[in-house]
């Protein structure tokens, strides 16, 4: 059980690292969104693993489903922001979104 837990969480950790890398290092707004998606994937895996390990997948499934729906809305809104920014600035570089300082 313990081993399985660490086995699964190590993959979750890998996904988190990849996602955070995307958030931190890329300049492309859409790729930042992809990073956010990957983070969400990690969370999904972690939740399912938790349900699996606790033996309560029945209780966990509705949670994951709701979470997926909620995250889709978030991503859609975020994509809307990126598109609107692109319409304003004609670029999807994150440089367009670093003017507020101080």
């Amino acid at each position: 059980m313990e081993n399985l837990f660490w086995f699964l969480t190590s993959f979750v950790a890998l996904l988190f690292i990849i996602g955070l890398y995307a958030l931190l290092a890329t300049r492309n707004l859409l790729r930042i969104l992809i990073g956010m998606e990957i983070l969400t994937k990690g969370v999904t895996l972690l939740l399912i693993a938790a349900g699996f390990l606790a033996g309560r997948q029945n209780a966990m499934q509705p949670i994951v489903i709701t979470m997926i729906v909620v995250e889709v809305v978030i991503i859609a809104v975020a994509a809307g922001i990126v598109i609107a920014s692109y319409r304003n600035n004609k670029t999807i570089s994150v440089r367009a979104l670093r003017n507020l300082k101080g």
């Binding site: 931190l24 290092a25 930042i32 979104l97 670093r98 300082k101």
Partner: protein, 613 residues
């Protein structure tokens, strides 16, 4: 009406009536003034009815040391009565002075609010309640200074910042004292004077003496003298703040901590007192503005009170409290004369006025009486209280006595200069159209000047009725009224006065002949002239004395500016630097913010795992 209700009335009557000027549809200063007069006289009646009665009142309040506890007894009712008296006199004066001012109605509202808050602070028997009223006064002070003119906010801000910092000290002091005494009720407060108790003492004293306007928390007062509306000066710095500050100081030293003469706390107070006397008066000596000069004296005289209370001898304490009362009377009167001059002559700049004595004879007489009182001319009230303070100081160490006498000398010199310049000199400016001030502005001054003389000649009355009952048994049956001082003391004071006269006479003569109208000592020059004076006639006794005075003035000026520099520049620079750094760190990049977040996450998690959550 029971005394309990009278106490409540004293607090809430002015505060409630203050709403009237605020609610006036047409902002008429005269109508607001009428309300102010009515309210202040009603207040006077109320506090007179409550005078000297013992009463306590506790209303259910928040709990945890927060209790709405009021206490009326000899000391508080005396301070209350004094404050109410000045409030009543000033309300009359203000009404005339502010008649045509656009902000008049607002000032009257502030005036009444201040009166109510002061009554609250005096009657409070709970330290936290006291703090409540105390802080409320801070806001009112800001409001009143702010009314002066369009750039007065600078001064108002400075005043609030200085007072705010010292009030913070006082808050800590109160916190410590409440912690140590395990009660916030002032009448039950007993704090030991060692360890943290000492710190609490110092912090509370800082709060009290800064309210009274002592050095080094004084720098806003002279600025307020130039910027604030004139009626603010006799009301707040000269009267109420002295009463309140010295009241708290006396409560702290005599009640809470039971300070005795051998303690370092007493020495501290005396040193502060002596320094305040001399440094402030030295600054006063070189001022060229009527109000500003007076305001430095308002600082200087606090020194006598602190010195007197700091001696911890019955005679010194009686002297200090008596001096507080007297100072309020004559300084109020002096500020009123300055107000009359400002209103009639249009300015208080001594370089632009002169020869007003003939045009404004009543004002001049009032000035002479009050100035004699502040200088300690025998027979006036100031003389008696100063003698008592000298007596106490001499009992402790001759050096404090010497400092006090030196201050007395400089006080006399500066008032000779002021009187000469404003009322006797001829020719500067156009004085031909100046008339005597209206009667309503003179009456309060006349009352006060009469009090100066009355409390001098009949000093038994205030001492027996107001001051000595405060100390009660601590006096061991002594009576300090009448005229029974040691000859040495009186001789010293008289000598100081004579010296001041001589100094003034020779100064006026030697300089006055050369220049058109002015005797030069009144216009104590800027810094370069100090060096000029040092070059020539160094051994001339007169110049020598003058140079000593100037040197003291110079040092005082330096200290004054240094404190000013600290508040104006260092604080601003440090805060600005921190602020700039923080702002530079917010570079707008999402990656930076994300990196902070992750770093914070790691730190918090590490801290949690280390059991620090």
């Amino acid at each position: 009406m029971s005394t309990e209700n009278l106490m409540l009335l004293a607090i809430f009557l002015p505060i409630v009536l203050a709403v009237v000027p605020l609610a006036l549809v047409k902002k008429n200063a005269l109508a607001a003034g009428a309300v102010a007069i009515a309210a202040s006289f009603a207040n006077l009646v109320v506090v007179c009815l409550a005078y000297g009665k013992d009463a306590a009142l506790t209303l259910p309040w928040a709990g945890w040391f927060f209790e709405f506890t009021l206490r009326n007894y000899q000391f508080s009712s005396f301070i209350l009565a004094a404050a109410a008296l000045f409030g009543a006199l000033l309300s009359v004066y203000n009404t005339v002075f502010l008649k045509d001012k656009a902000y008049g109605w607002l000032f009257h509202a502030y005036f009444l609010l201040t009166l109510g808050f002061v009554n609250g602070a005096i009657l409070a028997d709970n330290l936290l309640l006291l703090l409540f009223f105390w802080e409320g006064l801070l806001g009112l002070m800001f409001g009143m200074i702010y009314l002066g003119h369009r750039d007065a906010y600078r001064t108002a801000t400075k005043a609030v910042i200085i007072a705010g910092v010292t009030d913070l000290c006082m808050m800590f002091g109160i916190g410590l004292a409440v912690h140590l005494a395990e009660t916030a009720t002032m009448s039950q407060m007993k704090v030991p004077m060692e360890g943290l108790g000492g710190l609490a003492f110092v912090l509370l004293v800082i709060g009290a003496i800064s309210k009274a306007g002592s050095m080094p928390f004084h720098t806003w007062i002279p600025d307020a003298a130039t910027d604030a509306p004139m009626p603010f000066l006799p009301f707040v710095p000269a009267a109420l703040e002295k009463l309140l500050g010295i009241y708290l100081l006396a409560r702290v030293t005599l009640d809470f901590f039971k300070l005795d003469g051998g303690h370092w706390g007493s020495m501290l107070l005396m040193v502060v007192g002596a320094l305040t006397i001399n440094l402030a008066v030295a600054m006063a000596l070189i001022q060229k503005d009527y109000k500003r000069l007076l305001s430095y004296h308002a600082i200087s005289q606090v020194g006598y009170m602190i010195l007197g209370i700091g001696t911890c001898t019955p005679v010194g304490v009686v002297g200090g409290l008596f001096h507080m009362l007297n100072h309020t009377i004559y300084k109020c009167c002096l500020f009123l004369t300055s107000g009359s001059v400002e209103r009639q002559a249009g300015t208080t700049d001594l370089r632009k006025i002169g020869g007003l004595g003939r045009k404004m004879p009543v004002t001049f007489v009032l000035f002479i009486i009050a100035a004699a009182a502040i200088a300690g001319f025998p027979g006036t009230n100031g003389f008696f209280s100063k003698e008592l303070v000298y007596d106490g100081a001499l009992e402790r160490h001759w050096i404090f006595y010497a400092a006090a006498v030196l201050g007395s000398f400089l006080t006399a010199a500066s008032f000779l200069k002021l009187g000469h310049a404003a009322y006797l000199d001829k020719g500067r400016g156009d004085a031909s159209k100046v008339k005597e001030a209206p009667a309503a502005m003179l009456v309060p001054g006349i009352v006060l000047a009469a009090l100066c003389l009355a409390f001098g000649a009949g000093n038994a009355f205030p001492l027996h009725n107001f001051i000595q009952p405060v100390l009660g048994d601590a006096l061991h049956g002594h009576d300090y009224s009448g005229f029974h001082f040691k000859l040495v003391l009186v001789g010293g004071s008289v000598a100081a006065l004579l010296l001041a006269f001589a100094n003034h006479y020779f100064g006026a003569k030697s300089k006055g002949s050369g220049l058109a109208a002015v005797d030069h000592i009144h216009y104590a020059p800027g810094l370069h002239q100090i060096y000029d004076a040092a070059e020539k006639r160094f051994f001339d006794p007169y110049d020598w004395a003058r140079n000593v005075g100037k040197a003291v003035a110079y040092v005082g000026f330096g200290i004054d500016r240094a404190i000013d520099f600290f508040f104006n520049k260092v604080v601003v620079f440090v805060a600005g630097g921190i602020s700039g750094t923080i702002r530079a760190l917010h570079n707008g990049s999402h990656a930076t913010y994300l990196a902070w977040t992750l770093a914070g996450l790691v730190i918090v998690i590490v801290a949690c795992m280390a059991g620090r959550l």
